[in-house]
Symmetry: C2
Amino acid sequence: MKNIDDFQLIVDEEIKRQHRNLEPKELYEPIWYTLSNGGKRLRPVLVLMGCQLFSDRIEEAVLPAIGIEMFHNFTLLHDDIMDKAFLRRNRPTVHIKWDVNRAILSGDALAIQSNIFISSCSREVLPEVLNVFLTTALQVCEGQQYDLNFEIKSMVSVDEYMNMIRLKTAVLLAGSLQIGAIIGGAGKDWAQRVYDLGCELGMAFQLQDDLLDTFGDEDVFGKSIGGDILSDKKTFLLIKAYEQASPEQAKVLDDCYSGKCTDPDQKVKEVRKIFMDLGIDQMTRKKVREYLYSALAILEELPVEKERKTELENFTRSLMDRVR
Amino acid sequence: MKNIDDFQLIVDEEIKRQHRNLEPKELYEPIWYTLSNGGKRLRPVLVLMGCQLFSDRIEEAVLPAIGIEMFHNFTLLHDDIMDKAFLRRNRPTVHIKWDVNRAILSGDALAIQSNIFISSCSREVLPEVLNVFLTTALQVCEGQQYDLNFEIKSMVSVDEYMNMIRLKTAVLLAGSLQIGAIIGGAGKDWAQRVYDLGCELGMAFQLQDDLLDTFGDEDVFGKSIGGDILSDKKTFLLIKAYEQASPEQAKVLDDCYSGKCTDPDQKVKEVRKIFMDLGIDQMTRKKVREYLYSALAILEELPVEKERKTELENFTRSLMDRVR
């Protein structure tokens, strides 16, 4: 049995091995720049973990796993244009390092390459794998659109927010796990349960992300804390806080989020204080745990040897105390 | 046997039939706006013609044909952002009617939908169809990148230009025809010959486009004449003209293309005169005919009943005197 570190290594090595100096370089340079970003490779690792749940023939899932990582990177590349983000993992984003046209077109090419890699699975499972991948891929776009819509909406409900992160983040983690399971030989019904498991994981992962953005340790988390607050992002924390705030607290939040508070440190401090006074951080941690326990319960159900489940169980438990 | 008009009708009806009012509407509205543009549906019609070369079961090719049309429209949507185009078929482009973010994201979603439709072909031919489609799709991106590169290059050779239009335009026409042929049951080798035929058609089509942009009849062609000249586009006509110009003619061209000539009508008139003095229009027409005869020669080779070839032959011959 392979563990997460093995999987990460396999993914990183394969991405390097697949690198070619293709022409025109204006198109392919930004793709390699994006793929060599030193990310956690979470999604392709989930593909391999999903496969190992049902089979030892991990190698059959490696190229589709790279395809999923390519797709994820394509969405980051285009999202960074839409969000006008300057930095990603401490490096200039593609549309800043080159220009918007290069970012649009190399993103398009990367999306096509992702389909090429996904399609390299065996003929027998290709229609099922593609069905999961393409359904998921479209949902990711829907999630990004809802996220953009939220920017100009005055308020967003918890349900709307949960639906948005399900689409934007959770389904791709779920689809990754399911694609691995399908390639590993899981039947239709169990592959679907693996998808459900992945959805719970994905929801936990995104809520954790919201939490770390506001309450994480800057040096460990790897990005500056309070970014969501400073960019007025409507996160789970803020939506819940508004739901439960006293009139006085709501007034402070209104002031903070209407541009009245011009000192960024002050703004982060005040919003964090209200979150803590209302116990939003604890409530979010509890929600994260609920999702993770639900994932573990599905894992328990799966009709495979216990040792096949070990890595996914370890990974799920590690998310409970995730700090980066 | 069905003819081109039948095929166009089938495609238009199916696109309408597939229309859904999906959510979020911000994502899906621009897609429907783009797909209902009243275009010629050339690529999906080629899919159906490719299928009819080998089979009567056209219905199996209809959804993949729509997928090809979706892919083509996705490239137009993103190209219009990159080219800063305001109008397409006399309507505002998506990034003008809405905004750049909507155009990027709805384009991405349309690209994914195109893959969903392509993948709806039968399991038996899916790997082959996807292979042709994705290889072609990536080449279209390469072609667009070369086209963008040419804008800032001082000069472009005929070979470079031919390679660019092969990638940007010809391979998708060729791939469309080949995908139809594969679905129709053509073996690997004949499907490849159908692709070659499509490439010749595609080259002819693009050179004809260059010609019509400069020498067409505005009312018939449907866009204003001289657009390529006014936007300093390095077309086959211009590249050939520079190759053959006398020093005096080259001087006039240099002046026209360095912004010295500020009157647009004057610029178009002077450049057109040099093209005609050098016989570039006749030479381009000759080149178009060569490609089309070469396409007809391949059509002749194909081991199918003569009546199966009739529509593609008619279509090819109609391109000889194409005016729009």
